[in-house]
Symmetry: C2
Subunit: 375 residues, 2 copies
Amino acid sequence: MNETLDKLRLARTEGVGPITYRRLLAHFLTAAAAIEALPGIARAGGRETPPKIPSSREAARELDMVHALNGRIVFTGDPDYPPLLNLLPDPPPALSILGDLAALHGRAVGVVGARNASANGQRMAEALATDLAARQLVVVSGLARGIDAAAHRGALHVGLTVAAIAGGLDQPYPPEHATLQAEIAARGAVVTEAPFGTAPQSRHFPRRNRLIAGLSLGLVVVEAALRSGSLITARLAQEANRELFAVPGSPLDQRCRGTNDLIRQGAHLTEGADDVLANLPDDPRRLGLARNPLFAHDAGQLSDERPLWEAPPDPEIDIGAAQTNILALLSPSPTDLDDLVRRSGLTTGAVSAALMQLELALRVEFMPGNRVCRL
Amino acid sequence: MNETLDKLRLARTEGVGPITYRRLLAHFLTAAAAIEALPGIARAGGRETPPKIPSSREAARELDMVHALNGRIVFTGDPDYPPLLNLLPDPPPALSILGDLAALHGRAVGVVGARNASANGQRMAEALATDLAARQLVVVSGLARGIDAAAHRGALHVGLTVAAIAGGLDQPYPPEHATLQAEIAARGAVVTEAPFGTAPQSRHFPRRNRLIAGLSLGLVVVEAALRSGSLITARLAQEANRELFAVPGSPLDQRCRGTNDLIRQGAHLTEGADDVLANLPDDPRRLGLARNPLFAHDAGQLSDERPLWEAPPDPEIDIGAAQTNILALLSPSPTDLDDLVRRSGLTTGAVSAALMQLELALRVEFMPGNRVCRL
């Protein structure tokens, strides 16, 4: 129980992102030891004030509130952690969950699309979700207005559906979907990365989108304008090697330009559940699972390589020089980690160690899709 | 002039299809000589009554009527014959044409689709045709209600459009498109395989569809239900190695199921003229131009091989036995010519000679797409 509290404290510490969380636990073995080491690491990264680590009491209060809703918090490494999500290079350290954990362990398909969807688009999403649920697939979506809500509703009374949300478990959004969220929790699951009590803000939605993509074997986009949020979810799904599906529509309807473009780029043209089932793999495609060079241990699960951080530290590395080198290469717009390693001329291990310190010092931030940016 | 009349008589002879027409002319050099030889060839194929060859007067009357409308008849081998059509394995021997021959020599795109098209589908077809015409492409269609008419209208006042029709030049179909046909003839061209005076019947439409496909570098299908005529045109276009384009639409609209399926099978998803222009080749794809084994001389234009029928006749061939062999292999449903040659165990030359006699004897018929069937 103490270890659970410490994991939650670590996960909720400012500057501890998914990658640093995993690296700290891998290195220090327990969350308690990692918490003890945090101030020193942050200082080495150039941070003057120590990182704000929640107290055990604060963590216990969050846990209590989640439990009061009959919810749970699961951590990466827990056997209950959603296995598909765990294949991401940067799985969220702590997931707050209402409902049936089994819904997060099944074969799942994301169904997303425009909030201002057409009546036809909503009808399509609902029918598709019903058919997918009837064929034992879990339907994952984002609880938004329009396509998302139609997808949840289509699946609700037939099978399992999962809502990934941007705010805390106690903050359904949009507010008029509070009842829908409760129904989903009763017959499926509601999941979020956000701490209890977090009011959803626009900056939380990319993480919500990444959850939808990461929890699913494939993603169906039903209606989406060009440059819309659903296309960002589609990009995240593709980066996570999930299958991409799109429902075609009239070129005269702006809400179909995004989905048509996805098809043009290779997404499976989807008119119904058959198109999804015919192209849904048993697992995400293997290729690229280990794309994040800082997570070569994912490749290690496939081959026999040892995780990089288990290698003895290289006494030659000047960590301060590495940090300076890396900061010079980064900017506020995200840089690909592969590029960074290549352009730095440093070893992956050196980049990894330097970035962890810099993240804890709040000088860099890891972004979804193997990217990092300077703050 | 006499040779023109004789060509028309030969082309209008019962049992003389496109392939036999070309082979006869290649062998006998003039239409007059071929006409003289016809009864003997038909008899050798097992026909008891001689083939019905139109008289010179009948042919002259047809020519006069076409000329009275300011039309022309062009034959395969004429310099005016549409060059893209000439790349088919079985180009129609005689084309009756109203309007501007230049329209049949430009870079052309077919735009076809459902007769019972939606308002949106017609709007799409019209806008697409306008944009294609504005970019110097000739828009080819079939004068039908719905998509066809919208495509012609969209192109009419911007550039050139060509109507391929099923009946004679004097028989616009549907009748309410008589004015549209006249407008097209005045600013583009109207073309048909059918003799003057032919009332269009359903059996003429496959040839009309083949004209649309054969006259175009690519074919755009705007709205089409599954198993509709537009999909047959699409298949013909594909067999002629033309690019295939399809406009996507809502899966809830039956009129889009055919176009969506074309996209699923590899047609270019098309939202506008840009999609067409980006994928339109300068020439039909070379591969497969010589697929018809009886027309290896098309390959001969690419390489240096001599046409098969210029080879000295093989004295070993028992033409009667070859005919019996071939008839046993054929049935009323079309058989692929490649298959036929392979399964007969005969040389291509023997199959070719036997089929020509059998066609003239009205015992077999060549079908679009390298197929032959028993009558």
